[in-house]
């Protein structure tokens, strides 16, 4: 197996996962890595389960992260974290926006939303960093900035310098929203630093 790393960004169509991957791709490319990212556009973006794969290393072949291959999973929703858990590498880390969005079978009452997802995932031995990224995004100025809060959390776990992330955000968001996103990024970082200390 080649020495590539895999990150997955999973969530619900419309949650802004594509911006998160774009920022990540920017940082990785600037660092001189070979990068591939696979997204699914179209049908599933209408509120369905969505996933973006990010791969990087000296040389990347497959754009997909496969079962048991993800070093990190950024999950924008709890049920989606459970759904994609099997893609996490042994020893990998799951970063969770601890929020519930009911899928249609739950709304119609055909199925139940699983209980205690975070506890069950931890019980499987996965390292999980869970927080309310939505509230932090709202604190930064917009619920839409959840993606950048999540990137802020991930940035603390990576060993890339903070300014490289800041530059990537500046390159990927509209100037009008830059201040808001910078704030969202800092709030994500502060949150992660606090968690890692305790």
């Amino acid at each position: 197996m080649s020495e590539t790393k895999g990150i997955m960004i999973v969530g619900v169509g419309g949650q802004g996962t594509l911006l998160a991957s774009r920022i990540l791709g920017h940082v990785l490319m600037r660092r001189g890595y070979d990068v591939k990212m696979s997204e699914v556009h179209g049908m599933s973006q209408r509120g369905g389960s969505v996933v973006t794969y990010v791969k990087f290393g000296e040389k990347v072949y497959s754009p997909l992260v496969d079962l048991g291959e993800a070093d990190y999973i950024l999950a924008f929703e709890r049920l989606e974290a459970a759904r994609w858990l099997s893609y996490l590498k042994e020893g990998g880390t799951l970063i969770l926006n601890d929020r519930r969005i009911n899928p249609m079978p739950v709304i119609t009452g055909a199925m139940e939303y699983p209980s205690d997802i975070v506890e069950k995932i931890s019980a499987k031995g996965a390292r999980i960093i869970s927080g309310d990224a939505l509230s932090l995004a709202i604190e930064a100025g917009s619920a839409k900035a959840v993606n950048v809060v999540m990137i802020g959390i991930l940035s603390v776990l990576s060993d890339f310098p903070e300014n490289e992330w800041q530059e990537a955000i500046a390159a990927c968001v509209k100037p009008k929203f830059l201040e808001l996103n910078k704030k969202a990024f800092s709030l994500g970082r502060e949150f992660a630093l606090k968690i890692l200390k305790s």
């Binding site: 556009h41 496969d66 709304i107």
Partner: protein, 579 residues
């Protein structure tokens, strides 16, 4: 300069650098972004055509007119464009002509997973298949050179994982190309039997020349390594394979039609076992076997359905894959849904309530087939709602026509619904057709179309009036309804079903994601008034949920369309007090 590009953006960049001047396409996932990205280059003329056949024909005309020309479509779009495809193979080109087709292995956004390589074989056309964005750029440029050198249209095949993956490309600059002179040449461009009989042998000779090209072109390359097994592969499967086996021997085909059989033969002689790795049909494998080359593994181990991946390849070969922890409980699926405030919802609620047979079509509104709306009986291909309903009602009689409707989107109606409507009128049918006019091509991500008043480049355009179009083909009963006004809508559908002649209802309201859509403040449920009857849940709105015997509305999702308000007999759903 190096940059990250989607495969589709890289194809567009290739068009730009190759000096292409003309692009026509109809949207279709996963091909759409090629045309959207091409439209951003001022040097390229780019347009949305009403359907793939028109797009292909326009590109053929532009090629005959002397320009490097291009057309893109998804795999099923190629079925629509197949008629010109088979004959432009005979005429050949003037300016280079490239037709891109994006397959959708795994059916992420499609109604089937047909393998478009069969078309290249059947139409006797060369087909290139890139495996990442860098090759998308390189191959689309090369395709134009091949096209002009061999006087042939060239097909470029991608798939979801190439079209929608970003990888690093090196950008080059554009080479401007003069328009080639046009000279009348009926023996080449007028395909009537006498001329076509002369062209067919030329096509066969061309294929032989292309085989010789394939045998020596560097886009078909042998990467020699461990000789115990040799893999023959192409496109995205190459990337999966290389990830599994960094030191294996691989023959990577950049050209999947015609195949370099002698190159494959010599490769097979250098390895102990030969395995063919391809998704969907055994297109490469069957041809290799037919030439008497021994294949030790192919479809027998990889199967015909869906996508491959690095782990699926390892598993099929009986090798270890990484271990992982499963959540271990059945999870509710999360299918895509109609958005909160989607104008399609009210119509499907109404049709479901009425219990009519719904001859369906393809677009966002196909989601009306999912629970709890569950109001669609059939979906085959674009346009089939209208023509299919005509056949259904013709065999089942006029009583059936009183209990059935066709539903079709604005873009789909222009694509291929209008011909079905002509069939109904001309053959004295009495069916009812409902056009869901949300003023955009929604499903594929908001492309303009002939009814929206804007071109692909964002310029104002003449508007095709759906009302006048339907009247012009002979429908006398054409009416427009607001799909938010449920009572009115139901009355209109009932009335038109009972009319003893064809009718068209245009359910008109812009897609809620368009800037022109009206968004109102979120509604809320008064828990005192809510009796927990769940009536508001029957519209299947993602913003409405139910817990502790009461309904509630997610204020971050609700756009205030008031469809749920119309459901509530207890006036429990309220607008925010105006302060």
């Amino acid at each position: 300069m190096k940059t990250l590009l989607l495969g589709n953006e890289a194809v567009a960049r290739g068009l730009y650098e190759a000096g292409c001047r003309f692009v026509s396409a109809y949207p279709g996932t996963p091909s759409t972004e090629i045309t959207e990205a091409a439209a951003k280059y001022d040097e390229l003329y780019a347009e949305w055509a009403p359907n793939e056949k028109v797009a292909a024909e326009a590109a053929i005309g532009a090629s005959i007119g002397g320009a490097r020309s291009f057309c893109a479509m998804k795999h099923v779009g190629l079925n629509v464009a197949a008629d010109p495809l088979f004959t432009v193979s005979y005429t050949g080109v003037n300016g280079g002509l490239v037709l891109a087709v994006a397959d959708d292995q795994g059916m992420h956004s499609s109604q089937n997973e047909q393998d478009s390589r069969h078309y290249a074989i059947a139409a006797k056309l060369p087909m290139l298949e890139p495996s990442d964005s860098a090759e998308c750029l390189e191959f689309s440029k090369l395709a134009f050179d091949i096209s002009e050198e061999y006087d042939t249209p060239v097909m470029l095949r991608t798939c979801t994982r190439v079209a929608h993956s970003q990888s690093i490309v090196e950008l080059g600059s554009r080479v401007e190309r003069e328009l080639k002179p046009y000279a009348k040449a009926p023996s080449k461009y007028v395909m009537m039997p006498g001329n076509a009989k002369i062209r067919h042998p030329i096509v066969e000779e061309r294929m032989q020349k292309l085989v010789r090209f394939a045998e020596t072109s560097p886009i078909n390359r042998i990467e020699m390594g461990d000789t115990s097994v040799g893999y023959v592969t192409a496109g995205i499967c190459y990337q999966y394979l290389r990830e599994c086996f960094p030191s294996a021997s691989i023959l990577k085909l950049g050209m999947v039609n015609p195949l370099p059989i002698e190159l494959i033969r010599s490769f097979s002689e250098k390895v102990d076992k030969l395995i063919v790795v391809e998704e969907l049909d055994p297109v490469i494998e069957t041809q290799i076997r037919a030439c008497g080359i021994k294949v030790d593994g192919g479809k027998d181990i990889f199967g015909y359905c869906g996508e491959l991946s690095q782990n699926k390849i390892l598993k099929a070969l009986g090798m270890d894959t990484p271990s992982f922890a499963d959540f271990g409980e059945p999870l509710p699926p999360r299918p895509p849904t109609l958005c909160p405030g989607c104008p399609h919802r009210g119509l499907f609620y109404t049709l479901g309530k009425m219990g009519v047979m719904v001859s369906g079509d393809i677009g966002c509104y196909t989601l009306g087939s999912l629970p709890p709306l569950s109001a669609m009986d059939t979906t085959v291909c674009m346009g089939a709602s209208v023509s299919g309903l005509h056949g259904f009602n013709t065999v089942r009689g006029s009583e059936s026509a009183k209990k059935s409707v066709a539903v079709i989107g604005d873009s789909t109606f222009i694509h291929s619904g209008i011909t079905g409507l002509i069939d109904i009128v001309y053959n004295k049918g009495i069916s009812t057709v409902i056009i869901l006019d949300n003023s955009i091509t929604g499903m594929t991500g908001h492309q303009d179309n002939p009814t929206t008043g804007k071109t692909l480049k964002g310029e104002p355009a003449p508007v095709v009036s759906l009302e006048k179009l339907c009247e012009a083909v002979g429908v006398r009963r054409v009416r427009v309804c607001d799909p938010y006004a449920l009572g009115e809508l139901r009355a209109a559908v009932e009335e038109e079903l009972n009319a003893a002649e064809p009718s068209v209802i245009i359910a008109r309201r812009p897609c809620i994601l368009l800037p022109s859509a009206k968004i109102s403040p979120a509604l809320f449920v008064d828990p005192e008034k809510c009796k927990g009857c769940r009536q508001c849940m029957t519209i299947g709105c993602p913003a409405v949920s139910f817990s502790d015997k009461k309904a509630s509305i997610d204020s971050t999702l609700c756009v205030g369309c008031e469809l749920c308000t119309q459901m509530c007999k207890f006036d429990a759903i309220l607008k925010k007090e105006v302060e």
